[in-house]
């Protein structure tokens, strides 16, 4: 008969109340948002009376999760960047070259003289003067290979060496390329995250997408180009041996060397070895500081391996110049005065205090291992977002009221029951969105509006069934029960199919489409719940109290 166990009723109402509570903070959006921000600041920077006051705007025992507003509603910047993973291959080969040179040098008797040949940047091509010594050369070069450290590349080595006539070619193996790509993207992701965090904007989304892409969304930032400036500054720091100094930018640097301009002396170009002694990646710390003349400078410290190489190099090359290169410009090229064993030093140049501070930040955050190419950029102004919110609000309210009135006109008292469920339904959607940290986008609002329209469908199915049962002469209690049980299969089938499309949208879509999929999917779940359980509990409670002899639906 028309019975639902007490514990089930309690459970159903409990779910509704929880949903309402979770949704409630969204009704006081700005206040809760300020309170949340302030409490984060207290943890990060300590308590101040003002911050405490803002925190107390929202009671701490209340839920305080909010629906994330998407960029299209809040304004902000969106970037899709592709990491140029092949950059790393080139850097690897450049750093490999001195090693190759060092293993071959003692074997001149067997391999003869050797020279690096011009070729693709991601290969080392080596011409040896005694081709009969090739097998020995290959053996030596292969001895430099390391096993690939990845799951899929087990058993493979990181480099491949092959010979053709008197040319020996060294390049990264495919397994190593895969592993290297993965490392490069992860590293880039981490560095982008750190750089954005340094600037201190809130709730950025930084995700890996596909094999070599990074999606960056930062709400509240003025434009995508501003965002690009923050993350795009490479700050590639190297310490390289100086080969020569001149004023010709187009001079032939020789294989394994390159020409870079000076940062503060116009018209001066340095020829440096392409393979650096130490790179910025081996820095453990960088701080703004002042040199002995009181000018702004940046002090730095290397990690153990960096410090050792730096120490060895300075010990062996006292009296030669040494270039500190930042983003392919020579910051300074001091002559090494003495052995520097501790792995720390200072970069001087014509910096302002601000520049030295920025440089320190960039160095600390690390260099991007490879360049980024921006494939997609979107900037949405905050005014446009506010306009959209306002329009969406009005539209949702009008849609809502329209449907509520229509339901009452069509089904009378039962229409009111359905309306209560509908209101709960919207609250539940917002509650769930807040709970899972989902993002509300403009199409997401459309998804909610669509749910409003479709949520009544399940109720309509039930009510129409009850009508039919009443028509065929059943008593009220029986009609209600039959109505629910017979409509169930149609409700489930209809909603499962829509849910399938929501899931596919979520899996395949990005950005706003995904936002739409989330509200649609949640809306389906909540509307099935409210239609099957909530309206039924309401109707039964009403029925038990009134015991009507006849009902009109």
């Amino acid at each position: 008969m028309l019975q639902i166990d007490l514990w089930k009723r309690v459970l159903i109402w409990l779910v509704c109340v929880t949903g309402l509570l979770l949704a409630l903070p969204n009704a006081f959006y700005t206040r809760v948002e300020q309170a949340n921000d302030a409490s984060i600041e207290i943890i990060a920077k300590g308590e101040t009376p003002e911050r405490l006051e803002i925190v107390e705007q929202w009671p701490s025992w209340m839920p305080s999760s909010l629906v994330n507003l998407g960029l299209d509603l809040r304004g902000g910047a969106h970037l899709l960047a592709e990491v140029k993973v092949a950059d790393v291959y080139v850097a690897r080969m450049d750093s490999m070259w001195p090693e190759v040179r060092d293993v071959l040098r003692p074997e001149r008797a067997t391999v003869g003289t050797f020279r690096r040949q011009p070729g693709p940047d991601d290969q080392i091509r080596l011409k040896i003067s005694k081709p009969e010594g090739m097998s020995r050369a290959l053996e030596l070069v292969r001895g430099l290979a390391n096993p690939v450290t990845s799951l899929t590349g087990a058993g493979a080595t990181d480099i491949e060496a092959s010979a053709e006539g008197d040319i020996l070619t060294i390049q990264l193996s495919d397994a190593e390329k895969l592993a290297s790509d993965d490392r490069t993207v992860r590293q880039s992701l981490e560095i982008v995250r750190r750089r954005i965090d340094e600037v201190g904007t809130r709730e950025p989304t930084i995700q890996r997408q596909g094999i070599d892409r990074i999606l960056i969304q930062v709400p509240g930032i003025g434009s995508a180009s501003e965002l690009k400036k923050i993350i795009g500054t490479t700050a590639q720091l190297t310490f390289s041996p100086v080969v020569g100094r001149g004023s010709d930018a187009d001079a032939n640097p020789g294989v394994g060397n390159k020409i870079v301009p000076s940062l503060d002396e116009p018209g001066v170009y340095y020829t440096i070895e392409a393979a650096p002694v130490v790179t910025g990646e081996e820095l453990t710390d960088a701080q703004p500081a002042f040199d002995q003349n009181g000018r702004p400078a940046v002090s730095f410290r290397f990690n153990i391996s960096g410090a050792r190489r730096f120490g060895d190099y300075t010990a062996e090359n006292i009296g030669s110049p040494f270039a500190i290169v930042l983003d392919d410009e020579v910051v300074s090229a001091p002559v090494i005065q003495s052995h520097i064993p501790g792995g720390s030093g200072i970069i001087t140049g014509n910096f302002t205090i601000e520049e030295s501070t920025n440089l320190a930040v960039l160095l600390r955050a690390g260099a991007l291992p490879a360049g980024l190419e921006f494939l997609e950029e979107r900037t949405i102004g905050p005014e446009l977002g506010q306009d959209s919110i306002d329009a969406g609000k009005i539209a949702t309210i009008v849609a809502f009221v329209g449907v509520l009135v229509f339901m009452v006109l069509s089904y009378g008292l039962f229409g009111i029951f359905a309306n209560i469920a509908l209101i709960l339904n919207i609250a539940l959607i917002f509650g769930m969105l807040s709970l899972i940290g989902g993002t509300l986008t403009l199409p997401g609002i459309a998804g909610i509006v669509l749910t409003v329209g479709m949520a009544v469908d399940a109720n309509v199915l039930v009510f129409e069934r009850i009508r039919e049962e009443l028509k065929s002469g059943r008593g009220p209690a029986r009609a209600i029960e039959e109505g629910y049980s017979k409509a169930l299969s149609a409700i489930l089938d209809a909603n499962v199919t829509t849910f399938i499309t929501a899931v596919i949208l979520f899996a395949m879509g990005s950005g706003p489409v995904r936002g739409f999929a989330i509200t649609l999917g949640l809306g389906i779940m909540t509307s099935v719940f409210t239609a099957i359980f909530v309206t039924r509990v309401i109707i039964i409670m009403w029925f038990e109290r009134r015991r009507p002899k006849t009902i009109e639906v």
Partner: protein, 322 residues
């Protein structure tokens, strides 16, 4: 007094004119295809690559002046349209500028945007760029692929679901109705040249979901009536089922349309195309579940021998519910 959109009891014969309805649908389909191939879709930057800038100024927009100012920048193909919307303030003048994808793989350079802003500021002082969206040619191609894949996957998934829950004839009918709805919607977009972007794909998939929702409710009743009225012919059962569910079909369509029309009128111009697609989809979806899906089911026929249902693969998942 209750509002009743559909009388208590109806007994329309939905199949007496089935040739006419099939004819109408076929004609619309042909028209859709013709306009699709003749005009093509007005792809947004999501699918074509390029940049759109939404500008806002307090001065009235003069497309000609804007164009004359931008042309010397040599950005290739540009299109400028003024946007009108009832929700705008009196001194809010909005234009959309679309610039074709630039040569390299990147989206757009910040300098280009700055130069554009400076140029337009010269002819419309105080102009604001309220949104700038740029998609590089490398990504747009992929977006087309995923979009098409999403629609195909969605249709495929529901095909399987209905096949499991009903029988293959039902699945074919439902999917034919879906394809019909999707094609007609694409046709309308080609004919009216509304901007077709990523959001429209979301709308298309929702139409798939909605239309299916409708079809499934009718089919669910057909399945039930086929067991109940073993003597009636399939056509009679179909007619009976559609009549029984007609009230619900109309109610749901009307409530959904109320909500969507509110959004269309008041929701702002940014999502108007998207909402338009859904409104059209609800109308076409309602029509197709009655006239396309059911007619195809009627023509395919359904096995009626329910006594041996345990041996059939088609409906073994049909009794899971209730």
């Amino acid at each position: 007094m209750r509002l009743k959109l559909v009388p208590e009891k109806t007994s329309f014969d939905f199949f007496s004119n089935w040739k006419l309805w099939m004819g109408v649908s076929s004609l619309l389909l042909v028209l859709s295809l013709v306009s699709f191939f003749a005009q093509g879709l007005n792809f947004g930057i999501d699918f074509r690559g390029g940049t759109t800038v939404r500008t806002e100024s307090t001065m009235a927009v003069d497309v000609g002046i804007y164009r004359k100012a931008i042309e010397p920048m040599q950005l290739g193909d540009i299109s400028i349209t003024e946007v009108f919307d009832p929700t705008f303030e009196a001194d809010q003048h909005v234009a959309m500028i679309r610039i074709q994808a630039q040569a390299d793989g990147e989206a757009i350079s910040g300098e280009t945007i700055e130069a554009l802003r400076a140029t337009l500021d010269g002819v419309a002082p105080g102009i604001k760029f309220v949104s700038v969206e740029s998609v590089g040619p490398k990504v747009s191609g992929e977006l087309v692929q995923t979009a098409v894949l999403a629609v195909v996957l969605a249709i495929g998934a529901v095909l399987v679901y209905i096949w499991l829950r009903f029988e293959w004839q039902f699945a074919l009918g439902a999917v034919a109705a879906l394809v019909h709805d999707v094609l007609l919607t694409i046709g309308v977009f080609a004919a009216v040249q509304i901007k077709f972007d990523l959001a429209i794909i979301a709308a298309l998939l929702t139409i798939v979901g909605y239309s299916l929702n409708d079809t499934v409710v009718v089919f669910d009743r057909v399945r039930e009536n086929l067991r109940k009225f073993k003597k009636l012919s399939l056509g009679e059962v179909l007619n009976l089922s559609i009549n029984q569910t007609l009230s619900r079909t109309v109610m749901t369509s009307v409530t959904t349309l109320i909500a969507l029309i509110a959004l269309y009128v008041l929701g702002g111009d940014v999502i108007r195309g998207f909402v338009f697609a859904m409104i059209w989809g609800v109308i076409v979806g309602t029509y197709s579940s009655v006239f396309v899906a059911s007619t195809i089911l009627l023509k395919l026929g359904v096995k009626r021998d329910w006594s041996k249902q345990a041996n059939t693969t088609g409906n073994q998942f049909a009794n899971i519910d209730a």
